[in-house]
């Protein structure tokens, strides 16, 4: 059943983006909002609005009962979760299922399966998607570790089998390193976790983060090519591109085709992203995880392929078949997105909520600004700092960077601090312009003082 009345269970720029897509499809829009978000742009644009609780996200945007009750009360036949909040919450999807309301995204079971790292890794392997080579089970002796490492190839990462997070991880470049580090790691694992078992995994030095956009309708699935998202600070993406210029055509095809195989294997419905680490030296890529939602950086793919991905995911959620076959999906030129956050990049990225006094948005061919701002709007302190995304599209990467510089110069968000100076500095940086960076690049670049106040 095509969707007729859709509740948007999110806020900020993605709520605005979803409302625009829904309106283009003649869907009645109902914006859910917290008490702190009464004045947000999405509330003003939606056909109707419903309050779901106090400012604290735990009591509003993350409150399953409140959102389901709001959907029922407003007679919504579907809920779009956006990204973050409850976009990958299987319990939320089950609660909507029980109420007979469509979730714009995959099934609860697929969310569960892909949200579990081990299950996702197994599903990926079964579909022929390369995963980071690692030991099959726990390793109890140094000799076992040495023989497994010889199969995996150096450098290897030594982890505690019982551990979690990044604690106690060592990287061995050679067998001699491993023979020295393994006993230390065993002793530390025993002391920390009461279990000296080790786990080995191939270490990828200076990897690039590459991801593939997929879309499925439950039987068929297609890819919309890849994105390059290595520019990260504290694991948060800062600057994203489509496509990844570092890939050759053969590698790109292999990467995208295996992503489609995984999507088909799990009968995927909606928009999804497979994230990979890419080793530029060996041209190997390894699956890290799958995100079962629309991503912040989806506009670069929309610009590259000329497709409205948000409309397409709403269409398939309403039971529609994919409207584009793989052969219909082509890539054209190059797109770059930068995230404008309410943070002061000159002050360790201190958050900067507050009132928008002036707003000047750049316009022109190949320029798009997805945001939720207006003059006089008070950016609340309760949610994340993303204000908007400036996206440019041009015939090639160099032209896209040049267009990004002029678009950034034409963007003015007055009254609060934003990350605009960071993006201008990046766009002028020689390594960025040479496409020579990786996931560990930005933080040392910042620490070295490369971002200077503009006079």
């Amino acid at each position: 059943m095509p969707i007729k009345r859709m509740l948007i269970a999110n806020r900020g720029e993605i709520a605005v983006r979803i409302i625009r897509a829904a309106k283009a499809m003649d869907i009645h829009t109902i914006q859910a909002h917290s008490e702190a978000d009464v004045d947000m742009l999405a509330v003003r644009l939606a056909d109707e609005a419903v309050c779901i609780g106090p400012a604290q996200a735990a009591q509003s945007y993350l409150n399953i009962e409140a959102v389901v009750a709001a959907a029922k009360a407003t007679k919504a036949d579907a809920v779009h979760p956006g990204y973050g909040f409850m976009a990958e919450n299987a319990d939320f999807v089950r609660a909507l299922d029980a109420a007979g309301i469509t979730f714009v995204g995959p099934s609860a079971d697929v969310i569960d399966r892909m949200g579990d790292k081990v299950a996702a890794r197994l599903a990926a392997k079964a579909a022929g998607v390369p995963v980071v080579p690692g030991s099959k089970g726990r390793l109890d002796t140094v000799e076992e570790a040495v023989s497994v490492a010889a199969e995996l190839g150096y450098p290897v990462m030594i982890k505690a089998a019982a551990g979690g997070g990044g604690k106690g991880i060592r990287i061995a470049d050679t067998e001699a390193d491993l023979r020295k580090m393994a006993p230390q790691a065993q002793a530390e694992a025993k002391a920390s976790f009461g279990d000296g078992g080790l786990y080995l995994e191939r270490a990828i030095n200076s990897p690039r983060h590459i991801e593939v956009q997929i879309m499925g309708d439950g039987t068929d699935a297609v890819h919309y090519f890849e994105r390059e998202c290595s520019m990260q600070r504290r694991r948060q993406k800062v600057w994203e591109e489509a496509g990844a210029s570092c890939l050759d055509q053969e590698t790109r095809s292999h990467l995208c085709d295996t992503a489609v195989a995984l999507a088909k294997a799990v009968n995927y419905v909606g928009a999804g992203t497979l994230e990979y680490l890419y080793d530029r030296e060996t041209k190997e890529f390894f699956f890290i995880e799958m995100n079962t939602r629309i991503q912040v950086e989806h506009p670069v793919t929309e610009m590259l392929t000329g497709t409205d991905l948000v409309q397409e995911m709403i269409h398939v959620a309403g039971g529609g078949k994919l409207r584009k076959s793989q052969a219909d999906i082509t890539r054209n030129g190059h797109a770059i997105e930068v995230r404008l956050n309410a943070e002061d990049p000159m002050m360790q990225f201190l958050p900067s909520p507050g009132k928008i006094n002036t707003l000047r948005v750049p316009e022109g061919d190949g320029i798009r600004f997805d945001h939720f701002l207006y003059e006089g709007y008070q950016v609340p302190p309760f949610y994340d700092s993303l204000l908007g995304k400036l996206i440019v599209h041009a015939e090639n990467r160099d032209a896209a960077i040049a267009l990004m510089i002029s678009a950034l110069e034409g963007l003015e968000i007055g009254g609060i601090k934003t990350t605009k100076p960071l993006h201008l500095a990046l766009a002028h940086d020689a390594s960025v312009r040479a496409d020579d960076f990786h996931t560990q690049w930005l933080e040392p670049w910042l620490a070295a003082g490369n971002l200077k106040p503009t006079p």
């Binding site: 400012a55 604290q56 309410a342 943070e343 201190l350 958050p351 909520p353 507050g354 302190p381 309760f382 949610y383 994340d384 700092s385």
Partner: protein, 78 residues
């Protein structure tokens, strides 16, 4: 009498985590630079530090309260 003011708007916490003791109790001595609370702003936690030394008198807002920039958060004596 000195007041500790909030540097940013957000949510104020008088303890490092639920169940932990409060950063300061009435009567505690406070040195300049001591942490007296946390503010959650845009999913980031910022330490609120005393800019003067003295004796802690009381918090002026409750744990978990929404606060504005410049709002008094606590009082010190001496």
């Amino acid at each position: 009498m000195a007041q500790v003011l909030s540097p940013v708007p957000g949510t104020f916490y008088t303890q490092a985590a639920p169940g932990e003791p409060q950063f300061k109790q009435p009567g505690d001595s406070v040195a300049s630079g001591d942490v007296i609370g946390l503010i959650e702003v845009m999913k980031t936690f910022i330490e609120v530090k005393a800019e003067a030394s003295g004796t802690f008198k009381k918090f002026l807002v409750e744990d978990g309260a929404a606060i504005n920039a410049g709002q008094p958060l606590a009082e010190l004596e001496g």
